[in-house]
Structure formats: structure tokens, C-alpha cells
Symmetry: C2
Subunit: 472 residues, 2 copies
């Protein structure tokens, strides 16, 4: 079974009890610590992602960086490297900050090539230089290459630990190669056949390899039409391809069709999760956060939220201008203000719903530009029915508060505003995409603000017309 | 490379050209169709998910169900079954509706056990009975079992096509079993060791098996502490476990610890994607949609949107009541209405941002109940700064429109409303969770509506106090 929060809490308390008292006594060398073996025993039963979470809590809640560092020190280096990879970047930095270069080198060596590059990118220039100087040339160039890709693209999430098979190998040679690479490769279940120039010319699954005749040449059994991604492909597109074709790993190639790495299914899944978070935040006009909400710096959080909020303050002035224009109508019938938040709020809600349905549909590929006409017709019907239902709900209140004329104004305004708001919310993402702007910019706050302003004008126009008729 | 939209469009046009004219001539038997071989050739170059998309477009846009059916008929049965699995449920039903029982049986037989159960669940009772009668007993019971699990739980997304190894087998026997099961199993890369009673007692990866000594007994090399899920575990939890431990597949067990299936990484990824969609929709108070926005029935779309919209109409009456209460203040200074949408809109936007950040943080596991205090402090600082910035932005407009007193009222109200709204938005998800209500119920429309009402009261209270002071 997966561990639950209580178990993790217990492990944390154990670690604190076993390590903390000793580490506070300066004279005791860590190796002599009485708890060392007990800690090793305790940790041997726990999986790396769970140890990672325990260490994260130790640093975050108990301010016990020293305990976290000692725990890593007690683990075997490959396990410690693995656990380190599960920690958020800033905590990796904190831990690495307490270690000397040779300790860091050992950890880096045991990390997956993608996580090694990520950590390396976080280090300051001096430390990077110092570490690079102590690496073998091949290792150094590999690391520099992986660390050089821009965040958010295939190159930045790929690993170079894949199983490459040389063109011309036999099935039994390839199987031997799999056995040799097994400990280091991220996955051995999908194999890639490379030409002498390193070009990706075919792929096969381990499953295919295992049922093939041992003497057969891999070139005869491989699939030549390989699904791959360019090294600068966006990570969300990479994840989409992995999901669409149910891949275990997607090979990544450079512009010369040379294979440079693979993106594994688990990394693609992380992308799906983080892209969903980004989309959800965008839907509320919040900029992209690099880290969890509880760890991201306050200044960043402020910056990511403030821009649109202030822009929308000014956009909201249009609502105010609308109200100012109709000040006479309002002064004549102050009861109308009673329904103002209700009407513009309802329009905003319906419009935000419509926009969200479209934006998500476009993000998952369910909705394309060509569906626009069909969806417009559907939204007309649905929004019309919604407006009608809401108008019926609000009519008795209109009668109660202001009589028949006000009830009529409010009901008519409700239908019009909900219909207009929904169509605006639905169309805006398509319009934005047309102008090469991310459709997700049609966030709930933006749509709501636009509908607020339109709603004011619609409501008071109808009111002015009806009231002047009644008066006449 | 993955196929792009243009290629798929070309394939569709080819299919229409090759099949459509002949299928319109009633006297020509499909087997004599001149295009049959050409179609088979064309399709042999295309992957199943892509053929699935082409067929979907054929049915959706070209109303050419007959062409889609003929295309499936031309494919080999196993390929046809595979393609069928990529179609949305209602289209699978349409296609199956044109086939006789023996054709459907053949297709069902070749489908993955999970997709077979899904399709079976969509058929009407008569058809189900007719099909079950023609199945072998073992097959029938397997299908009935898989079809019986409630949607949204592990049982409903698992497959029974996994590789089971009997306790006591040697490594070479296990490898032989892998080779035999390879064509049928969903994955052969993770193996499960079962006791005589079918209890799950261990697991190992094919990678481990391949490097183990052929004569070793699997019980000695397997991992005994297996991560598994109960058959009634929620699918989002299943996906979380798969993501957390980077699994290729997660075994599913019943209450007696007997193994009943696996959830594979690709199905878990689909869950992450569809749960994200559900969360995004919930964030706008839209109920769960079973299908894409362009295919879901209009009546469903109406129902899923209307409930909260009408509820919020009534919630909005509180804003109205607030306004009615302050009618004298408004009548005395109509210019105040100018800033009403701006102030309550800004509070709503900031509050919706705060709520969304919390809800998503809780959904991804980044934020837990115990983080509440820390996050409250952070939100106080950030929301205070946001309110201050927005107050500064709005002050000049206040001076312009109504003089110093109005500017002071608007600026003070802005800070108070943004601060109050943000804290309300932040706390609501925690409160809901405390009362065992889904935190995602704290949707943008709900939060915005609550803040609208509070904003009205805050704004006009401050206005009344300041204006009476000025007057006094």
C-alpha cells in the first residue's frame, strides 16, 4: 500500500527523535550517532518519493535542514540521489549548500540525467564552474547540453538515459544490451535503433524483442515510422503525443534527426498535471507560478496576480461610465440599483462558464477553430434557456420590489444579458486564437468585467426605454 | 512523427472518395468494392488513435456512418477493435447498432477488457442478454464482473489483461509466461506474483526478471511490499499513486487481497486529464460532463450549468438588499454608484484568484489542512499589497469624479474589499473541506457573489460614515 499522511508523520517524528538530539551536540561526529543504524532500518522500508516528502516536511515545518541532510547522508548514494530528485528545487539547493563539491559530484553522478541538469541549472556560477572542472569531459558536455535547453520544451524534460541499439545488431545482441543497460536506463521497455550517425531510424518494444527470433536483425523487426518530438517542441505537445499514442517514452530528436533523449511516461504525466494547474490559474488571470502556492515567494505571488487586477480596475471604469450616462434614469428610479449586482453578476457567471468550457475544450483538443459555428448555435440555445430560467426566477422579486414595470425590465434584461454574456464568453477564446493570443487569456475575471460593462448599458437602456414608455 | 490535422483530413477525404460512391449503390456487395484494397493500403500506414479520429470526424461532420463502418470492416478484427476503443461511447454505439451479434462478439473479443466492459455497459438490455448468451461461461463472468464496477473508481478503469505469475515459479518459467502472454496483456513490464488463492503477494518488473538468475524462484526476487489500490478506490487517487511512484501499472485488489486487475499508466494519464477538466469546470460551477463539450447533449449542458446560476441569482439578492438599505446614501450622492461595479468586481476578482489557488493546491496535494495558518498570513500580506496597489490606481479617478471625500471612500473601500474578498476566497475551501464538502465548491461564481454582497455593505458603510462626518 501507498503510505498515508499519518505514517509519514510518524517517520518524520522518528527521524527527529533519532537524529536531532545528537546533531545538536557539536562534539559528536555524525558517524558515531547512536541512531544511525536505526534510521537506516527505518528508511529501508520506505519508498523514495515518501522519504522525499518527509524531508520536505522536515525542512518546511520543523526547520530541521540538518536532520534532512543527515538522513540523506545515511542513505546509500544512489538512493539519496533519487530522494533528492523528489524535493522541490529550492530545497535541493539548501541541501546542496551544506555539502562540499565532492559530495555534490557523487550525488549528481547518481541522479537521472534530467534531474541532474535541473539541479545544475539552479546552482550559482561559481559552484557550477567548480563542479564542471572536476567532471570527465564526456560527462561535462552531456550535462552542459541537457542544462542548455529552455524550460518548457522537450529538451528540458527529456533524459539521455535510454537504450540505444546500433543498426545491424541481432535480437540476441540487443537483448544483451538491454541487460547491461538495465540499471542505468530510465526505461528499457522501448528501444531505439540508431544509424552510425546517431540518426533515429527505428524503434521496437522490449515485448517485440522478446518474442522475436534471436538471430533476426533488429532492422528487420523494428518499426520504421517512429513517433518523435523535436527538441524544441513545447512540453504540453509532448505530453499530448505520449497520451494520444499511449507511449511509455517518446524519443526526442534534433534538427538533423539525431536522437538526443526520451521523455518518459511519468514525466509526461507530471507535465499534464502542471499544465492543468497553469490553465486553472490562467483562468483566474494568475500568471505562471514556478512552484507550489505554499512555497512560492510572496513578491512573485503579488506580481503574478496584480497585473490583471489593476488592468481590470480600469476596464471596470466602463461600467462606471455606463452608470454615469444613465444617472438620470437611476435618480428617477433608485430601486433599479437593487437589481444591478444581480443582473451583471448573473451575466458574468454565465459568460465565465461559456468561456471556460471553450478554453478547456481547446486545450484538450476537443474543440477546434472549425467547430465554432456549430458551438455558437448550441450556445445560443443553451444560453437562451438559461437566461429564460433565470428571468423566471427573478420576476416575482421584481414585482415585489418595484411593480410590473420593474419586473418586466429586470426579466428582459436578464435574458438579454445572459445571452449576450454567454455568446461573448464563448466567442472570445476563438477571437483571441485567431489573433494568435492564448485563448486562456479569456479568463473569468476578464470575461466578467467585459460583461459587467455591457450589462450596465443593456440594463439601463432597457429601463430607460420602458420607463419613458410607461411615463408617456 | 505524429500525424497532423491536415494529414488526417486528407485520409478522411480519401476514405470518402474510395468508399462513399460504392456504398451508395445498393446492389454492390461491400466485398466487391473496388476501393477495398486501396483503403486497406492507406490505413496500414496510419496508427489506431489517428484512424479513430478520422472515423470520429466522418461521423460528426460528414454524417458518413456507413463509411466509418465500412472502414472498420476492411481492417483486421483486432485492429478494428482497437480503433473502436478510441471512439467516444455514443459513436461506438452507433457503429455497433449497424452490426449483427456475431460481428459484435468478434469485436468485443478483441477489445481490451476495460474497453469491452465500457462498451457493454452502453448497450441496451436486450442486446446485452443476446451477447452474453453466446459467450463462453468464463468470458461471460469476467465481462459481467468488470462491467459491474461503479464509474469513477479503480474497478471501472482497470483491465484484467495483466501477467500473473504463480508463486513458486522459476525466473525462466516466468520469462516463458511473459513470452506467451505478450500479445494479449496490456503491459508485460510489471509482473504480479499470486498465491494459490489468487492473493497478490509480490511484484517484479520485467527488467528485474531479465537480469535475475534463470533458476531463481520468483518469490525470492519479488518485492513483497506492493503498492496497490482497492477496487473501490477513487480514480483520482489511483492516478495520484501512479504519478507519485512513477508506476507503469498499479495492481487493484479486492477486500480479500485477491488481485482483480491493473490500471496502466496511460489510463491513469487519461484520468489526470479528465479530472483536471472536471476541476476547471467545477471552478465555474459547471457540473461534471461525461463527454466533450461539442458532443454532450444540450439538455445536459443546460442542467449542468443552470443549478448554480439560479442559486446565485438568489444569493445576489443580498447585494440588492445591501443597496436597498443604503438607498438614502445613494440618493444623496449618486456618483457613488459609478464606483460600485469597479469595487465589487475588483474584490470578486482578487477573491476568486485566492480561492482558485487554494482549491488547486488542495487538489494536487500541495496544500493540506495544516498549512492553513501559514497560508493565511501569506495571503494577508499579498492581498494587502494588492488592495493598496488597486487603491492607488483608483484614487485619481475618485478625485476627478467626486472630489477628495469620494476618492478617500473609494480608496479605503478598495483596500478593505480586496483584503476581505481575498481572505474569504482563501478560507472558504478550507471551511468546506472541514465540513466534508468538496473544496472545489468554492467556485469563482460563488466566491464572486459572496464578495459582491459583502462589498456593497463595506462600500456604503464607509461612504455613510465618511459622508456624515463631512456633513457634520
Amino acid at each position: 500500500m501507498a503510505l498515508n499522511d499519518n505514517t509519514l508523520e510518524a517517520v518524520k517524528d522518528d527521524l527527529l527523535a533519532l537524529i536531532a538530539p545528537t546533531s545538536q551536540a557539536d562534539d559528536a561526529a555524525p558517524a558515531d550517532m547512536p541512531g544511525r543504524e536505526a534510521v537506516a532500518d527505518r528508511l529501508s522500508e520506505i519508498r523514495s518519493p515518501d522519504i522525499g516528502e518527509v524531508l520536505e516536511t522536515l525542512i518546511e515545518e520543523d526547520d530541521a535542514l540538518d536532520v534532512a541532510v543527515t538522513t540523506l547522508d545515511i542513505l546509500a548514494t544512489d538512493r539519496a540521489a533519487n530522494v533528492l530528485g523528489y524535493l522541490p528545487g529550492d530545497y535541493q539547493l539548501l541541501i546542496v549548500g551544506t555539502l562540499d563539491d565532492s559530495q555534490v559530484l557523487k550525488l549528481l553522478e547518481e541522479m537521472g540525467s534530467d534531474e541532474r541538469a535541473d539541479l545544475f541549472n539552479l546552482l550559482d556560477d561559481d559552484r557550477r564552474e567548480a563542479l564542471l572542472r572536476r567532471m570527465a569531459r564526456k560527462e561535462r558536455e552531456e550535462l552542459k547540453r541537457l542544462a542548455s535547453y529552455e524550460e518548457g520544451c522537450a529538451g528540458a524534460i527529456m533524459t539521455s538515459d535510454y537504450v540505444a541499439i546500433a543498426s545491424g545488431m541481432t535480437v540476441s545482441q540487443a537483448l544483451m544490451r538491454v541487460r547491461q543497460t538495465a540499471p542505468d536506463a530510465e526505461t528499457v521497455y522501448q528501444l531505439y535503433v540508431l544509424s552510425n550517425d546517431g540518426e533515429l531510424i527505428g524503434t521496437m518494444s522490449l515485448r517485440q524483442l522478446m518474442v522475436a527470433r534471436p538471430g533476426a536483425v533488429v532492422d528487420d523487426i523494428m518499426i520504421k515510422d517512429v513517433i518523435s518530438a523535436a527538441v524544441d517542441e513545447l512540453q504540453e505537445e509532448v505530453a499530448r503525443i505520449v497520451a494520444r499514442y499511449d507511449l511509455i517514452a517518446l524519443p526526442v530528436i534534433d534538427i538533423d534527426n539525431r536522437m538526443v533523449g526520451i521523455v518518459t511516461h511519468d514525466d509526461a504525466m507530471d507535465v499534464v498535471e502542471s499544465e492543468a494547474t497553469e490553465d486553472i490559474h490562467k483562468g483566474m488571470s494568475i500568471g505562471q507560478l514556478e512552484d507550489g502556492i505554499s512555497r512560492v515567494p510572496l513578491w512573485t505571488l503579488y506580481r503574478k496576480r496584480v497585473m490583471w487586477l489593476v488592468l481590470l480596475v480600469f476596464a471596470n471604469l466602463f461600467s462606471g461610465a455606463g452608470i454615469a450616462y444613465f444617472e438620470d434614469t437611476i435618480a428617477a428610479q433608485v430601486a433599479l440599483v437593487f437589481f444591478l449586482p444581480l443582473l451583471i453578476g448573473s451575466g458574468g457567471n454565465a459568460g465565465a462558464q461559456a468561456a471556460t468550457l471553450m478554453v478547456r475544450g481547446m486545450a484538450t483538443g476537443d474543440v477546434g477553430g472549425k467547430d465554432w459555428g456549430k458551438l455558437l448555435g448550441r450556445e445560443l440555445l443553451v444560453a437562451g434557456s438559461l437566461g429564460l430560467t433565470m428571468a423566471i426566477a427573478v420576476t416575482p422579486i421584481g414585482i415585489m420590489r418595484g411593480g410590473d414595470a420593474v419586473a418586466f425590465i429586470v426579466a428582459t434584461s436578464m435574458i438579454t444579458i445572459v445571452l449576450f454574456g454567454s455568446l461573448l464568453g464563448m466567442c472570445l477564446p476563438f477571437v483571441l486564437e485567431r489573433f494568435k493570443i492564448d485563448p486562456a487569456t479569456a479568463s473569468a475575471p476578464l470575461v466578467t468585467t467585459l460583461i459587467d460593462a455591457s450589462g450596465v448599458v443593456i440594463y439601463f437602456s432597457i429601463a430607460t426605454a420602458v420607463l419613458s414608455n410607461v411615463a408617456g
